[in-house]
């Protein structure tokens, strides 16, 4: 893996003595003409197609299958009690019910197997291993290397550990825990407005590149010092360094104009904890900030955790969390389900709707930002009470730039969740014919939703 294009001193000199007078670069084209071509699917100035983005949206502790799964497949599916909150976006999403992580003889690792089985294409083999990378990392390797951020991870619960995104078990991508932090990272120092009339490269960027090049030049010596597993960890380090170098290179160029991009105001600073009202508010602010980050092409891959695995969400004034309720709350004899635990399922669907709407609210090209996104929503269980990984709740939102149909319910009863992951990769244009391991290996995407 190459770390850097920067060689020794000569190149550094080139960098430092380069274009850098600090002079502004003016944009020559009239502002309004630079945007779209006549078909509305590409940038007129560059001819580049509108970017496609991929993300995951996670909610903990699943749902009640008999109240969540629609009864009929296709476009005419009827809303179920636990899908009622998504009514306003039903045409923009798909419901994929019935897909399971097949255990392949492994124990069901509670609150892990369902999520990493789906994201990595196979059931984890023990409580502290994961066979990475996760789906989002596969996609970001393919489409995330040309943007300022390779991917953005967010946790509405305010805990940076609440992330499912990992290259391997030694490098879990930490989540941004606050909306304000997310905003500052994207729109704070280092952000260059693509629609600004003038562009002035920041000389400080060259200095930062110079610091990194000193370290990058030292890589071979360091590698020689290490055993195999530690060398893999050093590789991860240099992947991070390379990512930052790419960010800096982008900051020296005038970004192409983006019609959909506008710069939001800074969100308010929220209390960060697992109380449901705070989580909903933090999540909504994060969704809005993320949507504009995508519109401004700062990243093309993202992962949002609305709640954590074994959801620690809680209602104010109560003694229990969502997770403890799923195990300890009696099933109401007349209702047939756990009413207090189920309230969190409805909250999760409400939040998912908010998220989809945030992406759909930004016009882009002939449609909205959402049309050029693909978001996969999922959870680590179906019925949380028994930690079931059978019939997991999957949903997708967006059309992936026209590669996906929406408004459909597909039932995959008995099929591996790898089919969902394979479909996501193919819809994002990855050249992948089969995916998953052992029983979860598949070469069959869900063709019902692919165009």
């Amino acid at each position: 893996m190459s770390t850097t294009g920067i060689g020794k001193g000569v190149n550094r000199r080139r960098f430092l003595r380069g274009t850098l007078g600090g002079a502004a670069v003016s944009v020559g084209l009239p502002f309004l003409d630079v945007f779209l071509n006549t078909n509305g699917d590409a940038m007129a100035a560059t001819g580049a197609p509108l970017p496609r983005r991929f993300g995951t949206w996670f909610f903990g502790c699943g749902m009640n299958p008999e109240r969540w799964n629609p009864a009929t497949v296709g476009a005419q599916w009827e809303l179920t009690p636990e899908l009622l909150p998504i009514e306003s976006v039903r045409d923009r999403i798909n419901i994929l019910s019935g897909y399971s992580v097949l255990l392949n003889g492994e124990a069901n690792q509670v609150h892990r197997t369902g999520v990493f089985g789906a994201l990595c294409g196979g059931a984890p083999k023990s409580a502290d291993t994961v066979e990475g990378p996760t789906l989002d990392v596969l996609v970001s390797d393919a489409i995330g290397t040309r943007t300022r951020f390779r991917s953005l991870e967010m946790a509405a619960t305010g805990n940076p550990r609440h992330s499912n995104s990992l290259r391997d078990v030694s490098s879990v991508n930490p989540a941004e825990p606050s909306a304000l932090g997310l905003y500052t990272r994207i729109f704070g120092p280092g952000f260059s407005d693509p629609n600004a009339a003038e562009f002035t490269p920041d000389p400080g960027v060259l200095l930062r590149q110079s610091s990194l090049s000193i370290v990058a030049e030292d890589r071979k010596r360091l590698e020689r010092m290490l055993g195999q597993s530690d060398r893999a960890r050093l590789d991860q380090y240099f992947t991070g360094l390379r990512q930052l170098e790419q960010q800096l290179e982008l900051q020296l160029q005038k970004p192409p104009p983006l019609e959909a991009c506008s710069i939001p105001g800074a969100p308010v600073d929220m209390p960060l904890n697992t109380e449901i009202g705070n989580v909903m508010a933090n999540h909504a602010l994060m969704a809005q900030t993320l949507a504009l980050a995508l519109a401004c092409d700062q990243t093309r891959v993202f992962n949002m955790q609305f709640s954590d695995r074994a959801s620690s969400l809680r209602m104010p004034g109560t003694t229990d969390t969502h997770h403890t309720l799923t195990h300890e709350e009696p099933r109401d004899a007349t209702l047939g389900y756990q009413p207090n635990a189920t309230a969190f399922v409805l909250k999760s669907m409400e939040a998912w709707t908010t998220f989809v709407q945030a992406l759909d609210a930004i016009p882009e090209g002939d449609g909205t930002l959402l049309d050029n996104c693909l978001v996969m929503a999922h959870s680590e269980t179906s019925e949380a009470n028994s930690h079931s990984v059978v019939g997991l709740p999957f949903m997708t939102a967006g059309r992936a730039g026209g590669r996906l149909r929406t408004g459909l319910h597909v039932s995959g009863v008995g099929e591996s969740a790898s089919r969902v992951g394979l479909t996501m990769q193919q819809a994002m244009g990855l050249n992948v014919a089969q995916w998953g391991t052992d029983q979860n290996k598949t070469d069959r995407p869900i063709t019902e939703i692919l165009t």
Binding site: S211, I214, L222, M225, G227, Q236, T274, T319
Partner: protein, 571 residues
């Protein structure tokens, strides 16, 4: 799960035989490459630049393995967003160090002209801070690369300090700063082809991070550079010096923060409806209280480790007074409180810190408390609940009234599938039910008296005080400390070959009246601590580890890397 008890028996036999065994000559396990923790990073910045320089930013979360972040540190890498953070923090530090306010005070020299390059001054700065940050003297290559970059930057920017920032940031993001990499030289012994000895500099870092949670000071680095640290007498002298240092407190605190899972405080929240008096200040004080309590007993008083479980003396703030029901005179700050004799509250297990951490946001949790006691203090592992249980079958009786936690958890002891694990956790957890979800004392729950009696591995207790005494008397508790502290020191689980060493350490710990500092000394001077075993599968051309086996030990700085062969071939 019962392994420690066999170890304890072995220790007991050793004692009964009256043999004051010497450190068994056991070779250490594999080398470790450990990422600095956030606290270690802060300490490194303080040591290099002083306490005025602020470390502003967030670090990647630690990764707990076998109950210790210290073990996860030897496994974690750096993610792209983690690297982004390191670089941002590094720039902020370099900006502060070269700021007009601090530069004269912190830099060893000033340039002839602030608007031009100054190679000589750059070299002084790079050598001074580089030695501290990278924990070794810099090589000529290290220095030259930085002088060149700094000079170019200074010329183009017409600012000497801009150049210096380039050099400083390059060290602050260097993998050799962010990771502690152990280097070793082949030193085969009969029957041990793969035996390695740590280099002097690696041993210096390993010692100082173990005892101080920070890098070596100048004195230790000097001893290492002279190549003397690996001499047993010198090593013992240095260890004694370090144990007497004020930095020992940092090391002891870091160990207990790790083993007691205190990083959970970072995301602790409580329901304000259930616990109206709870606030972040109270949580921070509770964390600090336990750490001060431990340091006071084990470092200042050099007390028997087991007294932690029976002591009634503890530091107190006004905010905590509201939890403990104790009037506190100090408006701001700490004073020493003595818990009344007639209260069930005694010792570490009754601290508010544990009550808060091992509980749900809205109520206490005997199970979470029991799991913590078993895993962190007894080194037993409690499996996750089996996945396929339908929990609702146990709570089917919607009309049942459960007033106390004991009632609610009754199913755990009546259902065989639950009982297997919960018999280990719930009885001792229920023994602490006198403390609610934030640690306030209570004798009733929902108007019904709380029964805190139970059985701890065959020993009856009537409540928290007797449970604490039972922990103090249980040999597993001290054996577990030995095991965890050794793992913490070396950054990995003990190998099979190291088990005799743990038995020796347990026996010696007892002979030394369970003094923590004596145990730390035993570990630090042990054969296993300063040796390692090469990974057998490493291809011969691979160097086993880091820290260029340059001539750093003799103070000169020869070319790096090329000369460094370890892992089988000669240097």
């Amino acid at each position: 799960m019962r392994i420690p008890s066999t170890l304890a028996v072995a220790a007991l036999i050793a004692v009964l035989l009256g043999c004051e065994a010497a450190d068994p000559t056991v070779t250490g396990g594999p080398l470790a490459m450990r990422r600095l923790t956030a606290e270690q990073y802060r300490n490194a910045i303080e040591d290099a630049f002083g306490s005025q320089v602020e470390v502003a930013g967030r670090f990647e979360p630690d990764n707990r393995r076998e109950g210790l972040n210290a073990l996860g540190a030897a496994m974690v890498a750096v993610t792209p967003s983690g690297f982004e953070q390191y670089e941002a923090i590094g720039r902020s530090i370099a900006d502060q160090v070269t700021s007009p306010e601090l530069r004269e005070q912190l830099l060893p020299c000033q340039p002839d002209t602030p608007s031009a390059a100054d190679a000589a001054c750059t070299e002084q700065v790079v050598r001074k801070f580089g030695r501290s940050l990278l924990r070794r003297p810099l090589t000529e290559e290290d220095v030259q690369a930085r002088i060149e970059a700094a000079s170019l930057a200074a010329e183009t920017q017409q600012d000497f300090y801009a150049g210096l920032r380039v050099a400083l940031v390059s060290m602050l993001v260097a993998p050799e700063f962010l990771f502690r990499v152990e280097a070793a030289q082949p030193a085969p012994s009969p029957g041990q082809e793969n035996r390695l000895e740590l280099t002097n500099l690696s041993l210096a870092s390993k010692l100082s991070y173990f005892l101080w949670n920070r890098g070596p000071d100048d004195a230790l680095l000097a001893v290492a550079q002279r190549g003397e640290l690996t001499q047993p007498a010198v090593l013992a002298r240095e260890v004694d010096r370090m144990l007497a240092s004020e930095y020992l407190v940092d090391g002891v605190r870091a160990y207990f923060e790790d083993v007691l899972l205190f990083d959970k405080f970072d995301n602790l929240s409580k329901d304000v409806g259930q616990y109206p008096i709870f606030n972040n200040r109270m949580a921070a004080d509770a964390r600090e209280q336990t750490l001060r309590f431990i340091v006071d007993h084990l470092v200042a008083q050099q007390a028997d480790y087991r007294t932690l479980f029976t002591s009634r003396t503890l530091p107190m703030t006004r905010s905590l007074g509201a939890v403990y029901g104790i009037p506190v005179r100090a408006v701001d700050g700490w004073e020493t409180a003595v818990l009344p004799q007639n209260q069930p509250r005694v010792g570490l297990l009754s601290h508010a810190s544990f009550a808060m951490l091992f509980a749900h946001p809205g109520r206490s949790s005997p199970t979470l408390r029991g799991v913590f006691l078993r895993e962190a203090l007894l080194c037993q592992s409690i499996p996750e609940a089996p996945a396929d249980i339908d929990f609702t079958q146990f709570v089917a009786d919607v009309n049942a009234v459960h007033n106390t936690a004991r009632d609610r958890l009754d199913v755990h002891s009546t259902q065989a599938s639950c009982r297997k694990c919960h018999v280990l956790t719930d009885p001792i957890g229920l023994g602490l039910e006198n403390f609610d979800g934030i640690g306030k004392l209570r004798t009733t729950e929902n108007g019904v008296p709380i029964d805190t009696s139970g059985d701890f591995d065959g020993r009856d207790f009537s409540g928290p005080a007797e449970l604490g005494q039972a922990f103090a008397d249980n040999p597993l508790v001290s054996a577990c400390l030995v095991q965890n502290l050794y793992r913490y020191a070396v950054g990995r689980e003990e190998t099979r070959g190291e088990r005799p060493l743990l038995r020796y350490l347990e026996a010696s710990f007892e002979q030394n009246s369970y003094k923590l500092t004596a145990l730390m000394r035993d570990i630090a001077v042990s054969e296993a601590f300063r040796t390692a075993t090469a990974e057998p599968q490493s291809p011969p051309e691979q160097v086993v580890s880091s820290e260029p086996a340059r001539d750093a030990e003799t103070g000169s700085s020869a070319a790096v890397g090329d000369a460094a062969t370890i892992g089988g071939k000669s240097t």
